[in-house]
């Protein structure tokens, strides 16, 4: 008889480990990713491959430098998922070194500097995205119009290699995101209604047949993946609902107050990275609060910052910044927002006996 593991119970365990959770998240990302690859063609696929392999490579290198065993951590899917999320947030035709450098920031600086999986303060993918955006604004804002695979005007495989690994002809970059156009339009004195009429229609935006980051355009597919994650209990509703709800409410209020200046809530939910952020990025276990109440606050904070940055900030999209700022606030939220302990009040003092409660029964 085996008594090797003789220790405290429980001697029953729920199924599923860390790797299983990561795999489920990646599975939920697959439809939106597949759609992104379809509409942005070969260059997008090459960029994804670059980002994923360099994420794995930097993970292996970091583990080796830290003197940790490679096997359990390298294949638990966490590095792969960080790389994946980063790729989804990049311009689909970004050059290879953007993906590779981003993976370095995400994995080495975002995670292993803090001590590895579970120790990091900031979401690795968002740290990388924001660093890239600040450091290489040109490369990070070159959007392309959808050019579905195998369509006449989409680049072939050879040309795609040139786009990703060489110097692409500049005229390949035609598009811009609706959210960027909105910002530009406002600065040029166009009202949101004009910009919307010219550059935005809800249905294509929801389906995702628009310019934008590699995997952020299809709100519907991301939503489907997110709902499936909720169903599989990989994530809970607290962060997505409070994040999207906050964006919706703020946008609705502003739009009602001054429709000339502020676009409505559906525009905000259907464009940019807000949906991906709500279900896949802000819900990152490591960098979000522990308690349900804390998660509601965290989500609302992300939503608020996204709206404020989009509306009043210098960048068209604020999701990355918003998540990082709220990541920084997470320890504080965790410190102040804890579940009430049974038999104690919120301050941790034992409950007092109320005689009135006896009489009630």
């Amino acid at each position: 008889m085996n008594t090797r593991n003789l220790q405290s119970g429980p001697f029953a365990r729920a199924e599923g480990g860390v790797g299983d959770l990561m795999r489920l998240v990646m599975l939920a990302l697959a439809p939106a990713t597949g759609f992104g690859l379809l509409i942005f063609g070969w260059p997008a696929l090459l960029l994804l491959i670059v980002t994923l392999t360099s994420a794995l490579a930097f993970e292996a290198l970091s583990l080796k430098l830290a003197g940790k065993p490679l096997r359990p951590t390298l294949w638990d899917g966490s590095a792969l998922l960080s790389g994946w999320l980063l790729a989804l947030s990049l311009p689909p035709w970004a050059p290879w070194w953007i993906g590779c450098f981003g993976a370095f920031i995400a994995i080495a600086l975002g995670k292993h500097v803090y001590g590895g999986l579970g120790q990091n303060l900031f979401n690795p993918a968002m740290l990388a995205r924001v660093t890239l955006l600040v450091s290489f604004p040109l490369e990070m804002t070159q959007w392309v119009e959808p050019a579905p695979l195998l369509f006449p005007h989409s680049p072939g495989l050879l040309e795609s290699f040139r786009i990703v690994f060489g110097h692409a002809p500049i005229d390949a970059y035609g598009g811009a995101t609706a959210i960027g156009l909105m910002k530009t339009g406002l600065t040029q004195g166009h009202s949101p209604a004009e910009t919307l009429a010219e550059h935005f229609s809800l249905i294509p935006a929801l389906i995702g047949y628009t310019g934008g980051s590699l995997g952020e355009t299809s709100e519907l597919l991301i939503l489907a993946g997110g709902v499936w994650l909720l169903h599989r209990k990989v994530i809970t509703w607290h962060i997505p609902v409070s994040l999207l709800g906050t964006v919706f409410v703020l946008a609705a209020f502003a739009h009602l107050a001054n429709g000339e200046r502020y676009p409505g809530p559906l525009f905000h939910l259907a464009s940019g990275g807000v949906m991906l952020t709500a279900f896949f990025i802000a819900t990152d276990y490591v960098t979000s609060p522990n308690s349900r109440t804390g998660q509601l606050i965290f989500g609302a904070g992300c939503g608020l910052l996204i709206y404020v940055i989009r509306t009043f900030g210098g960048y068209p999209e604020g999701a990355g910044f918003a998540v990082l700022l709220m990541n920084a606030a997470t320890p504080l939220i965790d410190y102040y927002v804890k579940p009430r302990i049974y038999g104690r009040d919120r301050k941790g003092r034992p409950l007092e006996l109320e005689n009135s409660r006896h009489d009630r029964r």
Binding site: E15, T236, I341
Partner: protein, 484 residues
Amino acid sequence: MLNLISLTKLLGGEKRIRGGVHPDGHKSLTAGKPIDGGFPLPKKLFLPLQQHVGQPAEPCVKVGDTVLKGQLLAYSQGNISAPIHAPTSGTVVDITEWPAPHPSALPTPTLVLEPDGKDLWAELNVPEDPFALPPEEIALRVGAAGVVGMGGAAFPSAVKLNLGRRSKIHTLLVNGGECEPYLTCDDRLMRERAEQVVDGVRIMLHGLQCGKAKVGIEDNKPNAYAAMAKAAQAFPEIEVHQVPTHYPMGWDKQLIGYLTGLEVPADGRATDVGVLMHNVATAYAVHQAVRLGRPLVSRIVTVSGRAVDNPVNLEVPIGTLMGELLRYCGWRPDQTQRLLMGGPMMGDALPHADVPVVKGTCGVLALAAEPAAEAQPCIRCSRCVSACPVGLLPLEMASRIKAGQLDGAVGYGLKDCINCGSCSYVCPSKIPLVHYFRYAQSELVARQQAQHKSQQIKRLVEDRQARLDRIKAAQAAAMAEEEA
């Protein structure tokens, strides 16, 4: 109207259940089979002198004595203790040290009885009508019969009844939850002997001078609920309730919260809110003790697990070696990965089967396979936070304990942890959270003891110094007087 009720439940009315998990029940292995009373008398019975919380019992027989079934073998000692009776007639062959049913299996003083096979009862002291007895007599009789909490806690029942009589109890709760996986002994007991259980509840109500009892049965035991509801029909003071199947529903405070909406203060007991809880098997033992005058000498044990061919509930004499039970049920030792006393959530792992069934043994499990549990780094998924029925932050506590900051862990509620295992159960990183908490809790106790000791030493040193100072002062005074 029905919708309204479920709506208030959903909106977090009084019946909200915090935390908890839904482990795979495995109850179908034994739930469908009647209690097997055909277990043959073993060659020897091993009766540890401590089968309960509190002081060990003191033997009042000596080696060579012949005893009858139900005869007192060891009397209780101190305020919290329980006597031990002969499970069958036979001869006391030894009073020795024998491995205890405990993870350490350390030897403990044990009385060894060799049955004579006749199973003759001693003369029993039976009242004609228990309800004619003065209330305080109930606790006396329950105490004299050696009844302890049969749900696994093994707290002497008479002490609890006395405590309840002193503080005003408005509701007696009877725990038929049986939320641990595999265990079905309470389920079968309620199905087959509901009337006796209800009688025991009525006797306890009489002893407590309390007007109301609520029985809570998890809704995965519809037959037990039906049997109990039927048996309690004639007694309006006993309500039988179905409660959700939800681990740890057997935790007294969870069940109290669900059935009465009351919350016990952190430093208090259930009696502080006017509630007392007993297990259904304890109620049955009370019935046996008071109605029939029979001391607690046998119990129903679930013998189950995938390494047992014929899992079943057995009624066995206390003191039977677990190995014999298992062999009776077709045990495959070579396929046993882990041997447990109690359920898989809170039960104890045993190093071998040569330990006896004691009064608190509700299950003997031989588990065949267990998921590999190589601990990985915490990813802060906070599943443990949602699972904790107490409202603690297991991940924060564990990381503090790992870093050696016990006080930090206490700040997150370490002392309130009930070790129910819900957090470990759900952890995807397979971190042995409960292991950390048990270690830290015992470390705290050890520290407290050490501090107490060092304070004592300090006081002694100070006393000595004071004494020396006094002597010196006296000498100085005497010298000064002499010089003067």
